[in-house]
Symmetry: C2
Subunit: 464 residues, 2 copies
């Protein structure tokens, strides 16, 4: 592996420059006005794949944003690893809270990143992470060291629920056939405590609307005699979680399995400092579901959060209006065995059932996704653990995290392959937030680690 | 009065054209980016006053938007009527719900307005209404029929709490001395049931902010373990009103006087059809404080309404964020004897007291105003009643309304004069809402009625 690492060292600066070029493209999928940037980003990646030595590179059209494909097939006797990533990013707002332009990457040094971190939307989620694979495989191809077959797909709709990925998979089952899927879109606990993500929460995401009067009203002339949709929405939201932090949606917990006390105590062995956790986000106090630790609350327990709310006058100054409508975006994080469609249905039923008779309430589902667990006996997990232990020189722990990557269950269902979530980000990367960043150390560590994964996985495969 | 009315008839179209010119100026006071339009509007009005025969016309600078002054003084033996209006308007948003451009007035015929209504922001509130006075007095001056002294002030900050009017009054006490103040900034019950507004609710308006984590968080990685500011705000808002529709702010009702059962039954004699009320705003059901009729709820009872709420992601699609902050604008309508400053203090104290310990809550007061009552024995009320009975040819009833015009108590305090609220709008004019409009019938009826008011008031004054 020395020549591979040597190649990586020699091309270090170019790797970073190429990533910066990608980060400069505001490929926001949630806002259709960025459609052209999505296309630009896809073209840029496909060019890079060709230059990196990938073959059969293709920009595959879908009903939505294109998916980029590339591969390098060596032999049918060798295992095939399918790498997945996404080039679309979250919107940058609230834009005023960014210290630098979200689409003009800069490197800044901090206590946690003495070697610097790249500040830009998408730096950690997921451009900086999928690009590690492109460059790691480049280093293997260019040094004639690739140990197995690799296929790569980079999609452009992960942040809006991978709505067209399922059809793409179905239409390309043989092209995408593989033994294992490798994804870097998660974080490790810290650079001192590297982890492989073995569990992910699922997601149900809905938008709700409460309509009262059929037009905005003057609060002086009507106030007191009509239902105010904002009040009604607040009442309804307030009623969704009880005093113990339990979600009141009927049937919500029916399929939630309690972990054994062994599993819980194993989980709680992970280094997690509640005071540091609290201080890192400037909180005066934590809170959550009664009977569970903070670590459990963000990993093995389902949750409900309002992600956005709006209604009435929100501009400068004072406007005495009773709005016709109020809205909220509400998402639920799910644990294994909870079915997103079923939860969305249960939520909808519950939310409509608590609506007062004199308003009109509608619930519109957005995307969802199943929760996921990777057993520690899986060869992919073992290869990831060995690879990270090699490059970090630390014991690697399994980690169940709160985020959702809905596509992992889609892969399992359609391609019949498990996904290994070997991410290199940190919890503090501020993904989905202003000032998202990705450590330079983590970027290069990922590029260094990925070849080891492919080697360990291939070795194990041959020994079977 | 024949020649006055004759003059009005002859100049009918010009009156309307001049009003249209005023309505084309987006003089929005709540948004400082419209400052130039405010100045344009003030200049336009001052030109019109000069052309109409007013004297000593002046654009008076204040710390904020200018106030326009004009007068016509005949004799110190005659009474002086001070007319007040405002040329600033509410913001036009939500702009997409306007059927036509809010600042390009058009006339549309409807069931309630067979003679047509002027659709534009400010048509009823208050450009269309103060302009009736300008044109009525023009008709009196040009026909040498003005029976008394008139002074006129048109301000540009009514929609943001008349923040600089108090100082202007204090600095111009003798210039503004008068016997009665006449204001058209209210509505009548209907063109068949003309009313004079004899009571107004006061106002306390605050903005609240709930801050949880010091940055936006990924709801997957943090959801379940941290306080979500939107939830907290919803909980707090939900707790402000109890199941009986009573406001839970401690001390809120302490100064609220119950009306006698005679006064209540007199009030409830006003024609008010609950089903029509409900249908006119497309509501499936009304609601409000237990033990009171809808008419009482919107007139003699204090209320609390959320006028705006915002926080988190409110754009297209789905973003899984736990926002750092959530905000709301909350206003309370007050009845006589409730003091706005005291209520703002009580609200602030209460709101902070119900805030969970792990979030930071701030309350910022906006403007406020006292409630007001005009006794039916007041000569101004009598003159208004007689004038409207003359031109509408219907019995005129006193009416207590829910809106607030904070300046009437300021006038009483500083100028020692009562205000007569002789408005000509309709409840259905959609003021502060999309598609605000003002009946052509009402506009001309106002111009016809105002000279009668001045005559009746002067006659009564002479007989004293």
């Amino acid at each position: 592996m020395d020549k591979v690492y040597q190649y990586q060292i020699e091309n270090k600066q170019r790797y970073l420059d190429e990533l910066f070029d990608l980060l400069r493209i505001p490929s926001i999928s949630a806002d259709s006005s960025y459609k052209n940037e999505i296309i630009n980003c896809a073209k840029s990646i496909s060019r890079n794949l060709n230059e990196s030595g990938f073959e059969n590179v293709e920009i595959c059209e879908t009903q939505g944003n294109p998916i980029i494909y590339g591969d390098k097939i060596i032999s049918s006797d060798l295992p095939t690893v399918l790498i997945y990533g996404h080039y679309d990013v979250q919107p940058a707002d609230p834009i005023n809270l960014w210290e630098t332009d979200p689409f003009d990457p800069v490197i800044k040094v901090s206590g946690i990143h003495p070697e610097g971190a790249i500040y830009a939307r998408g730096s950690a989620d997921d451009k900086g992470q999928f690009f590690m694979h492109v460059k790691a495989i480049e280093s293997l191809i260019k040094t004639n060291s690739l140990p197995c077959n690799v296929k790569l797909i980079i999609e452009g709709e992960e942040e809006i629920g991978s709505v067209n990925l399922g059809n793409f998979l179905k239409e390309n089952l043989s092209k995408l056939s593989c033994d294992i899927i490798l994804i870097s879109d998660t974080h490790i606990l810290s650079n001192q405590v590297p982890t492989v993500t073995t569990g992910l929460r699922g997601l149900s995401y809905v938008e709700v609307e409460v309509e009262g009067p059929n037009r905005d009203l003057h609060s002086g002339l009507y106030g007191g005699a009509v239902p105010n949709p904002i009040h009604v929405l607040c009442d309804m939201i307030a009623s969704l979680i009880d005093e113990d932090g339990k979600i009141r949606v009927k049937g919500f917990y029916d399929r939630v399995k309690e972990l054994s006390s062994e599993d819980r105590s194993e989980l709680n062995k992970l280094p997690f400092n509640e005071i540091e956790f609290k201080n890192s986000i400037g909180l005066k106090g934590i809170q959550g579901e009664k009977g569970y630790t903070s670590l459990e609350r963000i990993s093995i327990r389902p949750t409900l959060d309002v992600n956005g709310i709006w209604g009435g006058y929100t501009g400068e100054g004072a406007k005495t209006v009773i709005p016709s409508k109020a809205h909220a975006k509400i998402s639920m994080r799910l644990v294994p065995d909870q079915n997103p469609e079923e939860i969305t249905e249960l939520f909808t039923k519950h939310f409509l059932s608590i609506a007062p008779k004199n308003v009109q309430v509608t619930v519109t589902p957005h995307h969802g996704g199943n929760a996921y667990v990777l057993p520690s006996s899986n060869p992919g997990y073992i290869a990831a653990k060995l690879a990270m232990e090699k490059t970090f020189n630390k014991e690697v722990l399994p980690y169940r995290t709160g985020g959702s990557i809905p596509i992992v269950s889609l892969f399992e269902e359609l391609l019949g392959a498990k996904s290994v979530l070997m991410g290199f980000g940190l919890d503090s990367d501020a993904i989905h937030s202003p000032n998202e960043h990705y450590g330079i150390y983590n970027f290069y560590k990922g590029i260094e680690t990925i070849p080891y994964f492919l080697n360990y996985y291939t070795e194990n495969f041959k020994n079977k």
